[in-house]
Symmetry: C2
């Protein structure tokens, strides 16, 4: 928490304690909505309610509500009367109200929608039809577009009157049927003679747009690639439906990265919605843990199959953790590089062959080095040169295999249309444990007479 928020929080708490509500209302007037939203993270539900009711400008309340994390906003809304909710929701851009309504309990959502103006609830219900992670699901429908037959002068006049349009920096130019023709920047508008028509100055080539069903990750990649501030969203007849602005893209990128981080650890970003509810969170993580548990039991069963070998040479057991552990590490590295490469677009199926062979080479080099080190440790520790050899060979082989699994597993998942991030940690680790143990004990069984001598 930075100093600014810390001081603000202390003041807010003091004013609440003293019930100095008019002073608090004044303080809120001078505070940026994003900072008010930030405060909500540290306040309990009663303090949140008090604060929220003191915001008398419903535009500010709307901004605060759309900046709060979804887990807190659901909690907060349950404390507020319906009329206030409706009023606040009507003051925010449609795409934000859709987000909030989609996170409400179904009953409340229906009640809220039915108390809204018909045209607003229709617009919102229309937007709710798009997949949440598609361009349609994140686009704003309040944007600035003008007919191509207007003059620059008329365009500037329209711009001066426009009120609600979100973050105006581009003017989208359309024809009479609202087909997207091109785009102009505000600065371009200022630098051409006022009597020229938009159709004559608009840049139609190289216009970048996305379809309404484009995946949000792809939308984010396009905005990042072309360094643009907003991307227009069209239907399959090229009618302009909305725009995705760069601030939404930043949210998407952050959310997609968080999602991948969580998936790679075998968790789900859904748990962010549950705040501190341990049972719900545990229930989200358990299915994956139980799957891995059985993976671990299978690995154990394989060791059990080799118990004759193990009973004869108990020293073998001392290298089980290092062989499975290192396989997991190397596999995790390769998988991370591939998963992240897919997510950022650095790696695709056409470059995958090169990546595979690179990871294979890297795996072999690292396997040889680590095999040598651990082999030496084995010889020095147990004084048996054959044990050193077995451990070294098993380690090098297991690490090389792990590196290739690390590339192949996420690739396989990507191919069959499953998010590769889930493949990296759980599957790779279990697969590597199993192959590591198999390689280790098979090698050991092969050299059994030498080992026990």
């Amino acid at each position: 928490m930075d100093q600014k928020i810390q001081m603000l929080l202390a003041t807010v708490r003091k004013l609440i304690r003293r019930s100095a509500l008019p002073n608090l209302a004044n303080l809120l007037k001078k505070t940026h909505p994003a900072d008010i939203a930030h405060l909500f993270r540290y306040l309990d539900i009663n303090e949140q309610r008090t604060l929220f009711h003191l915001i008398d400008d419903s535009d500010v309340a709307a901004e605060v509500l759309s900046e709060i994390e979804h887990s807190s906003s659901a909690q907060l809304l349950a404390q507020i009367d319906k009329d206030t909710i409706v009023e606040v929701l009507q003051a925010m851009p449609y795409d934000d109200s859709v987000d909030i309504i989609q996170n409400m309990p179904e009953e409340l959502a229906e009640e809220i929608l039915s108390s809204m103006h018909d045209d607003e609830s229709e617009e919102i219900e229309q937007l709710m039809l798009y997949r949440e992670d598609s361009a349609g699901g994140i686009m704003s429908t309040e944007f600035f577009c003008l007919n191509q037959d207007l003059s620059v002068q008329q365009a500037i006049a329209a711009l001066q009157e426009a009120e609600d349009a979100e973050m105006v920096f581009y003017v989208y130019v359309v024809d009479d049927e609202r087909h997207l023709i091109g785009v102009l920047s505000l600065r371009q508008l200022l630098t051409v003679p006022p009597q020229r028509l938009l159709r004559d100055i608009v840049d139609t080539e190289g216009l970048i747009s996305v379809r309404v069903d484009t995946d949000q990750e792809e939308v984010a990649q396009l905005v990042a690639k072309y360094n643009i501030l907003a991307i227009p969203v069209v239907d399959d007849q090229n009618h302009l439906l909305g725009i995705v602005t760069v601030d939404d893209v930043i949210d998407v990128m952050r959310q997609e990265a968080t999602e991948d981080f969580y998936k790679m650890a075998g968790a789900s970003e859904e748990e962010l919605l549950y705040g501190f509810k341990s049972f719900k969170i545990a229930r989200l993580r358990l299915p994956w843990l139980i799957t891995n548990l059985f993976g671990g039991v299978i690995t154990g069963y394989l060791m059990w199959l080799f118990r004759m070998t193990l009973e004869q040479i108990i020293a073998l057991v001392s290298f089980v953790p290092v062989i499975t552990g290192m396989g997991g590490n190397v596999g995790g590295q390769s998988a991370t590089i591939v998963v992240r490469g897919f997510a950022t677009g650095r790696i695709d199926f056409s470059t995958l062959r090169k990546v595979f062979f690179k990871e294979l080479r890297v795996g072999i080099i690292m396997g040889l080095v680590c095999g040598l080190v651990v082999g030496l440790v084995a010889v020095l520790w147990h004084g048996n040169i054959y044990l050193g050899l077995v451990v070294a060979v098993a380690m090098a082989t297991a690490m090389t295999v792990a590196a290739t699994t690390g590339v192949l597993a996420p690739t396989f998942f990507k191919r069959i249309g499953v998010d590769p991030a889930i493949a990296s940690s759980p599957f790779v680790q279990t697969a590597n444990d199993i192959t590591g143990i198999l390689i280790y004990f098979s090698t050991a069984t092969l050299f059994l007479d030498k080992l026990s001598s």
Copy 2:
């Protein structure tokens, strides 16, 4: 690779094969610089050189060069004569040329700097003094600022004449000493009477700026939080030095996320610079692997200390993988949540206590469930109820301990000023392996007589 790039690539390759260079030059003229840069990923170095020399507009060449990945641009620059490099570097914004020069071999960089115009090389050397990951390291110095004593009309006139300013959407207003006074959007300029002075309309309250030494991650968080398109950078006397634009922020966020992904897997994003050079990449990953290797050997040594217990009850070995594996999984989940929470600002030291107890509770719940399951497996498999009990207790304890280590390790690293991401995977896993084995075998030794009966 999307269809557009795929088709473009095929055409480019065909034209190169036929040596149809004029046609190729024409094609490049019609292609977006970001798309040309994208092509470079799939071309070999000779094709890259041919293509690059065919771009006759040095502004376009500059854009292409600054969009190419650093690993490829270093390779490409080695193939191009110095005069062309200087010309292209002079055509790009200073912050981009700094990036490229910093990635050159030192000798070449010096040579290039000395062949540039004095004022340009001075500006670049000035920028090179800032830390690469600070606001100063990513800011652009070509931005649009105006004196507060100008009228709106004069401001618009100045705007119409400005050429080079990067992505103009805000006008920064300064006083005679270039102190930052406030900011205006282009749209605001259009909606006030032309004769008013900037000082009277500029918003001075709630102005958001960063200091030149602010960490780039914090800059990105501010831009994301306040939904702004650019943030002004000032020195400690509030002189305006530059701006960080939202497209740079997107790059920073992506880069920081990639860095964290790599660190959590025990790799370094530095390897992206090495392309497909396996030895260099292996050398980057090995130190961490070797550290983990010794962690694994220590775990093995602990098992070895308990070899008397193990020799008596060989069945114990069949649960070693599952107990160390599950500890690693749970610890990894908690660590990921904390590391990502720090990175996005969701978690800070003031909320950490709550997070710790939440993860502890989640760890206990999951430990009990998994302990029960694996205990049952043990009873059914080996027909020994005491073995089931030992395995269940050890599993539940190990998972609970792992969950707390997962919170404490990254917190400790954050406290001592080390990036918490490096703490998550390696340290947590080794620590969990060790405590898991200790807990398991201590419990087993305690119940030794019951187990062997």
